[in-house]
């Protein structure tokens, strides 16, 4: 763990400790990894509801007459496709086509966009964005990362719970965003129907001032929502095959290698140039050096984790970047960058754990579906 003095603290820390959280360092933040147990929390989200503190994530507001054009050049997905109050998954690439961050962008006004970026990347992302701002003032960027407390309410019971707590809230459709309550200040409360678990659910953003985040947490707790930590967040997202930046995505891998090509609008005539586009086009014409590949153990074995060698016909062909014992499936699952020739579902491989090799096979995503 890094020096605790330098760790950043979420506005909900007291809530976590009161709920019996075990706190760990994650991307420079002191965050809850679990409360009652990862299995228990994971099952709550799959069967009823759970909540995650996502206050470590960054919120960035981009507005102005030049906002759309600027965002098109910054991000891989075509921002112009977004109707008002809609969101999309997208990525910010370096000039080599490598992933700086993956994020969700919501259109919250005619020329206003709300970006939610990864907690561990906030400073880097903002530095990258600011360095590319036009000098004519046509794009205004506001870092609201420290102004929001944010909670993800996830699971099949989420809508019922949201409606019970906010009867007058306009409940957004999947990937949409709406005001959570009427805004009385410059930091609006927002509810987005997005998440990182594969279940229905919402991400709630409330101004950190006046203890709004703690009040929201308490209300959700009183409504029977189970507090869930980063441990369950990781197993839930991996069962769906959602990538984690820093494990599955990196500045040295492109979205094409990560299997996220559909979020890069290379063939959309309205998209135009964007950072990393040339590298993606070159890679597409020359062929991919590797492909992020879902793997499953076909024998009983230890939980899979990152950095385990992947073996084909006796030779190491890559290593796992994410791995877990899937709580829903009871099987070892992992992602690994492998030569594309080995990425076809059904391909037999082995994964080496502590010098023992376990049979595995390439599968299709998601690992888990209802």
């Amino acid at each position: 763990m890094s020096d605790p003095v330098t760790l950043k603290h979420t506005p909900l820390e007291a809530c976590h400790l009161a709920s019996g959280a075990r706190m760990v360092e994650f991307g420079g933040w002191l965050m809850p990894v679990q409360y009652t147990g990862i299995m228990d929390e994971h099952r709550a989200v799959r069967s009823s509801s759970g909540m995650f503190d996502i206050s470590h994530m960054g919120e960035v507001l981009v507005e102005g007459a030049g906002a759309l054009e600027w965002l098109e050049q910054l991000l891989t997905n075509r921002v112009g496709k977004l109707a008002l109050s809609r969101g999309q998954y997208t990525m910010m690439l370096n000039e080599k086509g490598g992933v700086i961050d993956d994020l969700i962008i919501y259109r919250t006004g005619e020329a206003a966009y709300f970006l939610v970026i990864n907690g561990a990347c906030r400073d880097l992302d903002l530095e990258w964005m600011r360095s590319r701002l036009p000098s004519d003032g046509s794009v205004i960027l506001r870092d609201l990362g420290d102004d929001y407390a944010a909670i993800a309410l996830q699971g099949p019971d989420s809508e019922k719970i949201l409606r019970s707590l906010y009867p007058s809230c306009e409940v957004p459709k999947r990937n949409g965003i709406a005001p959570l309550v009427a805004s009385d200040g410059s930091i609006p409360s927002l509810v987005a129907r997005t998440g990182y678990t594969g279940e229905d659910g919402f991400e709630l953003f409330v101004p950190v001032a006046q203890g709004n985040g703690e009040a929201l947490w308490q209300n959700l707790l009183a409504a029977g929502v189970k507090p869930c930590g980063l441990g369950a967040r990781d197993t839930l997202r991996l069962e769906m095959g959602y990538p984690l930046n820093g494990s599955d995505l990196s500045p040295d891998r492109t979205p094409l290698e990560a299997g996220l090509g559909k979020f890069a609008s290379l063939d959309d005539a309205a998209k135009g140039d964007f950072s990393g586009r040339k590298a993606l086009e070159t890679q597409r014409s020359k062929g991919l050096p590797s492909l992020l590949t879902p793997l499953k153990l076909t024998v009983t074995g230890p939980p899979l984790r990152s950095h385990y060698p992947v073996i084909s016909e006796g030779h190491s062909v890559g290593e796992t970047c994410s791995g877990a014992l899937s709580p829903s499936l009871g099987e070892g699952i992992a992602m690994a960058y492998l030569p594309p020739s080995l990425a076809t579902p059904g391909t037999g491989l082995e994964i080496e754990v502590r010098e023992r090799r376990y049979a595995a096979t390439v599968v299709a995503l998601p690992f888990y579906s209802k």
Partner: protein, 126 residues
């Protein structure tokens, strides 16, 4: 946390029960609570030589893999086969059905260097 008075303890949270030179090894109640949901156990092989303080087994929770250090030196005579199908025994009965392996100690005098129940209780702050 339960700290049975008839056992001796390693600083690294393993316990031993000795019957002559046959030693049973497991992890403590404190250790299982810290590890949480144990989903996999990899005991040593029967016949393996283990050294005091060196890794002899691995237990894994959903979140992390943890080495289990042999409290004593000697040879493994038996392993708990039940753990393969039911690793949660390490959580539910760490001093009983959740034992990990049995060994013949090569030097029973090593037992004297292990913690007493009182000393181990003090170490875990109770």
């Amino acid at each position: 946390m339960n700290v049975p008075t008839d056992l001796r303890y390693a600083k690294t949270h393993e316990w031993i029960r000795s019957e002559g030179d046959t030693i049973t090894v497991g992890i403590t109640d404190h250790a299982q609570a810290e590890l949480t949901d144990i989903v996999y156990a990899e005991p040593p092989k029967v016949g393996a030589e283990v050294k005091a303080g060196a890794t002899a087994a691995v237990v894994e929770s959903v979140k992390a893999a943890s080495d289990i250090y042999s409290p004593l030196s000697g040879n493994v005579t038996e392993v708990n086969a039940e753990l393969a199908s039911n690793p949660a025994l390490l959580n539910t009965d760490p001093f009983g059905q959740g034992w990990i392996y049995r060994m013949k100690a090569s030097d029973v005098a090593e037992i004297d260097s292990l913690l007493t129940p009182e000393a181990y209780s003090a170490q875990i702050g109770q």
